[in-house]
């Protein structure tokens, strides 16, 4: 017969004020299999824990039930006490008499009876408990960072500076991301590239960082501490080991009219190209879609120009495999193009730009060398209209959320325009000004008060072209809906920030959840903003939601600390409360029928296949096996299993039935 010890806590008066704790101890003490039952004022205190330890030894207990507060609060405390007394910690259970009973009920007979029931249930459960050992998983101390924008750069540098190796994968030919495209940054108006490029160089030169540009993640398998990443290195067609980055090939390339991605389509580039002069690495790649040789089989001018013979026409995509222990997702965001807006001309008016295009125009390294000129005729616009919330906060367009950065960059754009075109007139149509952040509100007020930007509260209904002017039809809602019509030379749309293309597929590859807008989902909106619900995969920057540079950098450093904390252990210790497929041995057998419903149900990819073979080596059947490293103990597979072959350790069918039956048999 089992020997269970029951310990009822008063929790000061938290429990004893409404529950007759002495009666609980007395009644439970009379149960079959209960060897010892006491109550005490503070069970979690040192003397309280000593009671438990002494009782375990004195009565040779094989199970402990503590009736106290929430197990969230003190289960580790009491399990540790049991372990110190030589009892397996998973033979200790807690009945929550505080949150589930005393705090939510009045003092009454029924309250005490409920408390008795709660404790009795756990006594029945603990009789069925089996000793469990915590799971130990080794850790590969190397991190994979996906995305080489400011988030990925910051996370990589921070992890690398803790002494761990980092693999940084970037889809484009250069790292830098959106921040490298920006002109000046709010609220200080310091040049974006000037603060970013030193960090890009630092990444390239850091001994702990291995940089893969023009590469994409092919697949990720494994679990926290033990991931295997396959990375596709797209064929650059240029041998980087010999290329000197002299740029002669770029100058001679005859295909010159390709819209430049870096300049948001405002400028052009060649087929063999470096995205921008400060690129890291500053070596070209060949765009095979547009290259004459790959299209028609003839040209090879770059090869003739190249003095070191770096052009490699037959180079193919390469897959490299890297073992990593943690992953930081920093894939960033994208902005909607002007073609998303029928009411503003579907992008067919050349002088209707997106914020990102204006950013390139205002940048000294941009297509106009920092001068604000109309793309249609190169004339400096004298009247410019900025439209905030273009797409954002527009459920009809499928983007009900606020893109967060537009209010600030629109104020900055208008300010930059006023600084560059002194006799110009700028108008901003806005719905609200959301300038939450250090020095942000002051920045917007400066645009309005000092730089004379005309802010009009109201959305623009339409933009259309008439006699070479863009007619903007808006409203001033602060004047009771007075219509405002402006003949503008240029219109800039603060288009919505959206998830980067391919983020949905990437999330599925990594088994990371994402929201309806394809931004990656954090594990907890407040307390776990950089974790995902897949252990070992962390988030940084705008891939989680649109955010500005300071916030992105902060988040990236946060993710880096999480990675560093993970790497500070040689092996990970996990609670053994994971799913197991039952095995009956000998002979090595299982009730599992191998339907693998569990595999389709598991959100963590933790179900593996295992062959059961006879003595002669012949296959008897293939059954499911749970990977302990991946399993989070959610129990979905248990609910799905048709042959009841899976159990969660610590919450087996047998244990839960025992709990329920104790209630019914009373």
């Amino acid at each position: 017969m089992s020997k269970i010890g029951v310990f009822i806590c008063h929790c000061g008066e938290n429990i004893s004020a409404t529950v007759d704790v002495e009666r609980v101890a007395r009644e439970v003490g009379g149960m079959e299999g209960v060897a010892h039952a006491i109550d005490y004022k503070y069970m979690c205190s040192d003397p309280g824990q000593t009671f438990i330890k002494e009782a375990v030894k004195k009565y040779n207990l094989d199970g402990v039930v503590v009736g106290a507060c929430s197990p969230r609060m003190h289960e580790p405390t009491f399990r540790r006490a049991c372990a110190e007394a030589g009892l397996n910690p998973y033979l200790c259970e807690m009945a929550n008499l505080r949150e589930h009973c005393s705090w939510v009920h009045e003092k009454s007979e029924e309250t005490t009876e409920k408390a008795i029931d709660l404790v009795k249930m756990l006594v029945q459960k603990v009789k069925k408990n089996k000793p469990l050992d915590s799971i130990k998983v080794p850790v590969t101390k190397r991190a994979l960072v996906i995305g080489g924008g400011i988030a990925g750069i910051q996370a990589s540098l921070d992890i690398a500076n803790t002494g761990h190796k980092v693999i940084l994968v970037e889809r484009d030919p250069s790292i830098g991301g959106h921040m490298s495209q920006l002109s000046e940054t709010f609220p200080t108006l310091d040049c974006s590239q000037c603060i970013l490029t030193p960090r890009m160089v630092e990444v390239a030169q850091h001994p702990n960082i291995k940089l893969y540009t023009y590469a994409e993640l092919e697949s990720l398998e494994g679990f926290i501490g033990n991931f295997t990443a396959k990375i596709r290195l797209k064929a650059k067609s240029v041998d980087y080991s010999t290329c000197t980055g002299c740029g002669a090939c770029i100058q001679k390339c005859p295909v010159k009219k390709i819209p430049s991605e870096f300049n948001a389509g405002l400028g052009t580039r060649t087929a063999i190209y470096v995205p921008f002069p400060q690129a890291v690495p500053n070596k070209p790649v060949i765009d095979r879609v547009n290259c004459n040789y790959y299209k028609r089989g003839a040209c090879k001018i770059c090869e003739k120009t190249c003095q070191v013979g770096s052009i490699q026409w037959d180079r193919e995509d390469e897959i490299v495999t890297e073992e990593v222990g943690a992953v930081v997702l920093a894939t960033g965001f994208d902005v909607k193009g002007a073609d998303f807006f029928p009411e503003y001309g579907y992008g067919k008016y050349k002088d209707v730009l997106t914020g990102l295009q204006f950013e390139r125009m205002a940048s000294a390294s941009g297509p106009t060398f920092g001068e604000i000129r109309r793309p249609s005729d190169g004339v400096i616009p004298k009247k410019i209209v900025f439209i905030a919330c273009a797409g954002s906060r527009d459920p009809a367009k499928g983007i009900p959320y606020c893109s967060k950065i537009c209010c600030m960059y629109t104020a900055k754009h208008a300010m930059l325009y006023q600084h560059k075109v002194h006799d110009g007139e700028s108008t901003v149509f806005y719905m609200d000004i959301r300038a939450g952040g250090k020095n942000y509100e002051e920045f917007v007020r400066r645009a309005i008060e000092e730089d004379t930007v005309n802010y009009v509260r109201g959305r623009v209904a339409r933009v259309y072209e008439k006699d070479g002017k863009l007619i903007v039809k808006g409203v001033d809602t602060l004047l009771g809906g007075q219509q405002v019509e402006i003949e503008a030379d240029m219109v800039v749309l603060a288009t919505a920030g959206v998830a980067n293309c391919g983020s949905e597929q990437l999330a599925q590859k990594l088994h990371v959840s994402y929201d309806p807008y394809h931004f990656f989902a954090e594990a907890h909106p407040k307390l776990k903003p950089v974790e995902t619900n897949t252990a070992g995969i962390f988030l940084a920057g705008a891939c989680q939601a649109p955010k500005d540079i300071p916030e992105t950098v902060g988040m990236a450093s946060g993710a880096a600390v999480k990675v560093a904390a993970l790497f500070s252990n040689d092996e990970l210790v996990r609670e053994p409360l994971v799913a197991v497929v039952n095995r009956l041995a000998p002979p090595l057998y299982s009730t599992c029928v191998g339907c693998f419903m569990c595999e389709t149900a598991c959100p963590y990819n933790a179900i593996e296949h295992e062959d059961i073979r006879g003595r002669d080596g012949s296959l008897i059947k293939t059954i499911a096996k749970v990977n302990e490293g991946l399993c989070q103990g959610c129990g979905t597979c248990v609910a799905f299993c048709r042959s009841k072959s899976i159990d969660i350790q610590g919450y087996t069918h047998e244990q839960v039935y025992a709990e329920v039956m104790s209630l019914l048999n009373d």
């Binding site: 006799d423 007139e425 007020r445 309005i448 008060e449 004379t452 005309n454 509260r457 001033d476 602060l478 004047l479 009771g480």
Partner: protein
Amino acid sequence: MDKKHKVSDLQSHTGVEVMRCYQCGKCTAGCVLASDMNYPPSYLMRLLQTGTKENYDKILHSNSIWLCLNCENCLGRCPMEIDIPKMMDYLRTRSISENKMHPDSKPIIAFHRSFLDSIKHTGRLYEVGLIAAFKSRTFRFAQDLNIAPMMYLKGKLHLLPEKIKDRRHMKRIFAQTIENAKTETK
């Protein structure tokens, strides 16, 4: 600001920067006369911000600037410390000089004139003189006539004015003020 707000010299005359207003509406919320005004104070600020001649004329033609009592509730509460009463004073001057006064302004201007006349000539408020001047200006002879006897019996109305000693001094103050105003508007 100046380039866009040429329609008014408001800022150079009063120091009021209309662009500072962020339309929170606190002035209107606390204004005792807002409900009687054509445009409540915050709306008036927004009209000024647009900087158009059309909206500026709307203000000069409105009764808002005349109904304003200069109680300074708005100024006392404004988070941006915008001096609306001072602005109202200026707008009234402009309304008169451009002859754009709202009909509601007639009795108000008549009262102000009568009041100032009394001060100018006696140095004090001479009630009977004020009433007579106001009524002769507005032809509102019957207004409040019924309460006159009671006021007289209670000693609130003195038939003869009480005068200060140095009335020439008072006249000089008036002359000087008018002279200053003229040079300012130049």
